[in-house]
């Protein structure tokens, strides 16, 4: 997995410029998220993709040509921290199964954020691999609905991506 973080101008249409380029040049990304940053006027787009190093390099070079993209870099997974949030609604009408689910949630350090007579809604934050593993377990119980945010990431250590 490759993680690409871009600091972009916080203006209308910028997300379109970025996604238009990704589509046009046939890049295939897995996740993309956007949100605010520590700097006024800048947003952060985090993307992940699989594939060759050379493809990632092309994507980074092409994106950096967009004048709204102020800074862009690849974050090596080994040198960064990254997290994803998933919200999972699981079918749980049967009390025995419900307690199994609750056990798994504890093991995976998730949280129940909503419950009804026959369902549980779980919040799970972490490495996408962990989320995938948890999801595999939940499939046995019946996943009613799933929403994932895609990955956000920061480099390890004290430096900020927006500097230098």
């Amino acid at each position: 997995m490759h993680i690409i973080a871009a600091l972009v101008e916080d203006r209308p249409g910028v997300m379109f410029k970025v996604t238009s380029l990704i589509r046009r040049r046939g890049f295939n990304i897995d996740t993309i998220t956007v949100g605010s940053t520590e700097k006024e006027g800048l947003s952060r787009i985090t993307m992940t993709m699989r594939g060759d190093e050379s493809v990632v390099e092309q994507l980074v070079k092409q994106l950096s040509k967009i004048p709204d993209v102020v800074k862009i870099s690849e974050l090596k997974p080994s040198e960064s921290v990254y997290r994803e949030l998933a919200m999972i609604k699981v079918s749980a009408p049967d009390p025995a199964k419900r307690s199994d689910i609750l056990n798994y949630i504890t093991i995976f350090r998730g949280r129940v954020i909503d419950a009804s007579k026959d369902s549980l809604t779980i919040e799970m934050v972490g490495n996408p691999k962990k989320i995938n593993a948890f999801l595999d377990l939940m499939k046995g119980f019946g996943v009613v609905e799933l929403a994932r945010t895609g990955i956000v990431a920061l480099s390890r250590g004290s430096r900020s991506t927006s500097e230098g």
């Binding site: 249409g13 380029l21 092309q58 967009i66 004048p67 800074k71």
Partner: protein, 561 residues
Amino acid sequence: MKLSGAKAIVEALKREKVEVIFGIPGGSTIPFYDALYESDLRHVLARHEQCAAHMADGYARVKGVPGVCTATSGPGATNLVTGIAVAYMDSSPIIAITGQVPRSMIGKDAFQEADIVGITTPITKYAFQVTSASQIPDAIRTAFLLASTNRRGPVLVDVPKDVQLEEVDPDYPERIMIKGYVIRSGDPHPYSIKKALGLIMSSERPLIIAGGGVIASNCSEELVKFAELILAPVATTLMGKGAIPENHPLSLGMVGMHGRGEANKAVEEADLIIAVGMRFGDRTTGKLDEFARNSKIIHIDIDPAEIGKNIRVDVPIVADAKKALSILHSKLLEVGSKRTESEWIKRINSLKESFASNYTERGDGLKPSRLMKILRDCIPAKSIITTGVGQNQMWAALHFRVLEPRTFITSGGLGAMGFGLPAAIGAKVASPDRPVFNIDGDGSFLMTEQDLATAVSEALPVISIILKNRALGMVRQWQCLFCNKRYAHTDLGNVPDFVKLAEAYGAEGIRIESYESFESAVKKSLKAEMPVVMEIQISPDEKVLPMVPPGKGLKEVIWYG
């Protein structure tokens, strides 16, 4: 001082030293045109917005500064699209200013609303909308800066009608900072220069491929000096024609799908390819896996994204071609590396000789290659050539020897039929003292023929040479060679009569039936005061040869059709 947004745009354009705008007005640009009415900015009224964009492009390529075109919202703006795409593919600096429906109506599917920023984002260096009149000074500065720096390209500025009407006290910036855009110094990295020097000095058979970047960076002189120093023959891409005078002993002509035999062969035999301002496009390389398999590659380009995009290279030099070539030249001189003779040059010369007979004309009828040679011999070196797309374009590229940079103007990357005439008009506006010839096809010419009216109204004596093969010739050629002569819908018939067509517009129409009459018509046309259209009947079976079939390596050349 308070003025309207429209006037602020005109003032901003004048500050950018714009001399002329090509365009057609409409509902959403009436305020802008009203401001033009009282300004001394020249406006050339095109008859189709596509042509306005091509004119701006032709102007830009001749002058080396951005050309400006304008269109109204909706259909006016969408008509610009082909012209913008041509400029994008050929890295030509044009600025398109479009009207847009008033801000309050955007997104409501208002009359003549089109999302032109969305439509043109993939085919511009940048496209954006101005959302208040106070942004106008920065917006126009931004547009010019982006279009004309680093790798050049088109920029679109969309201005809602009410923004044009809004009162503003404009504050024109001298300089502007765009956070995400760094103007490159163009200086090469010393390490890559060092590595390149190593390769050059150890190479026995160096070859230069010059692309449009050499023209854009105005470094033909540096290129030729460098080539002479290391005794490297110079092939060019289509866009690179004019990078070296094609009568120079080191010139090989165009390389690629329709490249000259000697150029393609030389690429195969070289042990080092120095690619300057070119992007390894498929029409240049043929099958990539087989391209230059025996050679190392040095790639000089101003755009870092071009490095490694299509081909893996040994030494990338991200730099302005002019700076890179001068530094390489002076470093080589420093170490006293100068070649005076080489086996390689002898080999190149023998290649040229051995291929010469392949170009001799066979059969009856007027031959495009001969016509191109006659044209070259009859017109001054500084004359400007534009072309249509198809066989006409490739015959011009193969057989018309370009002697100066910025005198061969063609739609290389997009290959848009209809480019020739409007580009010629733009070129003539840019350089009224130089003869401008549009070498065109009967199909291509018809796509933008209506702008003969512009040339006549503006008294711009551009000369169109229409090679009338009564066919969409290039497609027909492929059908002949690769579809078993199944000529599906490529027959144009002998329609129209271009002589009468020219006359209907008030231009001069001339029917050419012999080489002699062509020669005298060309000579006479040099003094023309109104546009000239020459119709030259040629056989629909004439082919552009040699040709490398699509998807094949450069050595798999076809010489006979």
